[in-house]
Amino acid sequence: MSKHHDEPLIELNGLFKTYDGAGFGAAKKKVHAVHDVSLTIMPGETLGLVGESGCGKSTTGRMAARLLQPSAGNITYRGRDLSLLRGRESKTMRKAIQYVFQDPYASLNPKFTIADLLEEPLRIHKLGDKAERRRQVDAMLETIGLNSSYARRYVHELSGGQRQRIGIARALMLKPEFLILDEPVSALDVSVQSQILNLLKDLQKQYGLTYLFISHDLNVVHYMSDRVAVMYMGKLVEIADVEGLYHAPFHPYTQALISAIPSEQRGKRSERRLLTGEIPDALSIPEGCSFHTRCPYVRDSCRRETPPIIGMGESRTVRCHLYPVDEGLDYGETKVALG
């Protein structure tokens, strides 16, 4: 489904985002919202970014969209480092990468009409005159399945699904190549959710878009993504092609995540791997592997040092002591049997 050129479109290299916690001077605790995240996204591909609340997936997404300044690391677009771009080049980059917000109600100015909202990107980048912009707005409304009569209406007059369509339309006005979708369907009912997911798939085909699809809903991520990256407490714990991840997850956390999905087959519940304990507080991330406090296979090494990310076969990586670097490992073998 995805057309792979050899050259990656977007690369996140060693991204960090740390916030100052409470305390002064030495006692000042640092909160590592995102810790050394590196991702490569190929043109036309959909990379899923999945994890529970507080894992840093949204922060990573906002840094990729240049909405948030990373504390360290950089982002390259077609091989060019974004932070070094100046003037015209930086402008074109800003058009090429767009972000779709999770809550369309908060991210669309309630005092603007739909037309104003969609014209704004064109106005900021001084593209076309009034009539031309109006024409593009009407065309975009048709593309996302709303007729141009919506142009004069306000956000609070629309339903959840319609608002999300406007959020997507606004991100498309500048004809971007790369779209970062932050939980685009989490707030929607199932019937509306499927309409938006279909729309996103159609738009991807029609405009050859590349998606970073952020979500906590594993069913939705599975449906939308070619590859999936799993995050826990600010760190990447596993990256895999979507079938590999769902059928043979390596990392114990991914296994727990996938087995926790409520499914309609009655029997599934019985062999679920229940995680004990709570998601740790962001202020006090556990030492070593941050998952060790809840991991059923915790060992001494897990408590002491953070496992490195190692390659496991063609397009898979994992960060877990169960898969030590030195051992001659038959790649692709799931270390821990599921049932």
């Binding site: 499927s194 279909n198 769902y246 087995s259 926790a260 499914s263 599934k268 519940r269």
Partner: protein
């Protein structure tokens, strides 16, 4: 697998006994002692316009049974749960129909009588654990409050029972939690406290209004397991409300699907998930992104839910139904039995239905 905690072991044992019981849908009027909650033709109206928000609700919950109510936002599932508890917002009022808990009629009872049953015979947990606890009272105060009210338990005795129930919902260090404040606990821990508060007086019925929707999937699994285990150990009946078909399928014995204020389909989980009859249920199930649907377009039910004032006379789903016939526009179908306890509110006799790919 020595590492498995005892809960998981318990989960692996053969399916719970309640499966074998044939949950017949008893006819109106006939009382059988196995029935804890009986709802007959219940309706709730808007006070100002007396327009029905929910109507014609027929539902029963047996002892030790978990009955699910599934529906999308605005279908009236929360209004139903609040009407049973007698906690309807001031803008709504109980229209007609009967509400019976343990044989006692709730629809005729006075406010005082219903209040004495709340917490004692029926209790409720809610969706957002972050806001459902009083921020200025300790967990202990909020737990012992019910024990003192209903069981007249003194200080030490109440504390002991509180600690017992906190431990039962799987909370570590229950004594420490008693003296802590809600903001010091995570979402999952607060939901366990809510369950402890709701069940500490051992009510027969627990109503759970989307208790895991605001939680992460690994925490949700833990909470569902607590509910399942409590039903096993205490025979507490649970009325579980959710918009997530997966959660319903996993936890419930029987389920009712609600749409625009009405129950459109009802039956055991097997009946409903293996052979759904109502076009809305079918459409809903086909909209869920499942692994086997990868690469295919998802089915999307056309149109939107009719609002309160333009529901029209006929079937409320007719404007979005692919099989809408003339009769669907002018008459309201009744909830008819289709074998076993499976009931559907749809005119299309099963034989006549054109093949719908499930």
């Amino acid at each position: 697998m020595p590492l498995l905690t005892d809960w998981v072991k318990k989960a692996i044992e053969p399916e719970p006994s309640s499966q074998q019981r044939n949950c017949r849908l008893p006819e109106a009027g006939e009382r059988d002692e196995d029935e804890l909650l009986a709802v007959r033709n219940l309706s709730v109206n808007v006070k100002s316009s007396s327009r029905p928000v929910i109507e014609g609700i027929d539902l029963t919950v047996g002892r030790g049974e978990i009955v699910g109510i599934v529906g999308e936002s605005g279908c009236g599932k929360s209004v139903l749960s609040l009407s049973i508890m007698g906690l309807l917002p001031s803008a709504l009022k109980l229209g007609g129909g009967e509400l019976r808990l343990n044989g006692q009629s709730l629809h005729q009872a006075s406010q005082r009588q219903i209040r004495s049953m709340r917490g004692k015979h029926m209790s409720m947990i809610f969706q957002d654990p972050m806001t459902s606890l009083n921020p200025t009272l300790t967990i202990g105060e909020q737990l012992t409050e019910s024990l003192r009210l209903h069981l007249k338990l003194g200080g030490r005795e109440a504390r002991e029972r509180a600690v017992l129930w906190l431990r039962r919902t799987g909370l570590p260090r229950p004594e420490a939690i008693l003296s802590s404040y809600p903001h010091q606990l995570s979402g999952g821990m607060r939901q366990r406290v809510m369950i402890a508060i709701a069940l500490c007086c051992e009510p027969e019925l627990l109503i759970a209004d989307e208790p895991t929707t605001a939680l992460d999937v690994t925490i949700q699994a833990q909470i569902l397991d607590v509910l399942f285990r409590i039903r096993e150990e205490e025979q507490t009946s649970i009325l579980f409300i959710s918009h997530d078909l997966g959660v319903i399928a996993e936890l419930c014995d029987r389920v009712a699907v609600m749409y625009a204020g009405q129950i459109v389909e009802q039956g055991t989980v097997e009946e409903l998930f293996e052979s759904p009859q109502h076009p809305y249920t079918i459409g809903l199930m086909k909209s869920i992104p499942k692994p086997e649907k990868k690469g295919m377009r998802l089915y999307a039910i056309p149109g939107t839910v009719p609002s309160l004032h333009d529901r029209g006379e006929g079937c409320r789903f007719q404007s979005r139904c692919a099989h809408a016939a003339a009769i669907c526009l002018d008459a309201m179908p009744a909830l008819e039995h289709r074998g076993g306890s499976h009931a559907v509110r749809c005119f299309l006799a099963s034989g006549e239905r054109r093949e719908m790919d499930v």
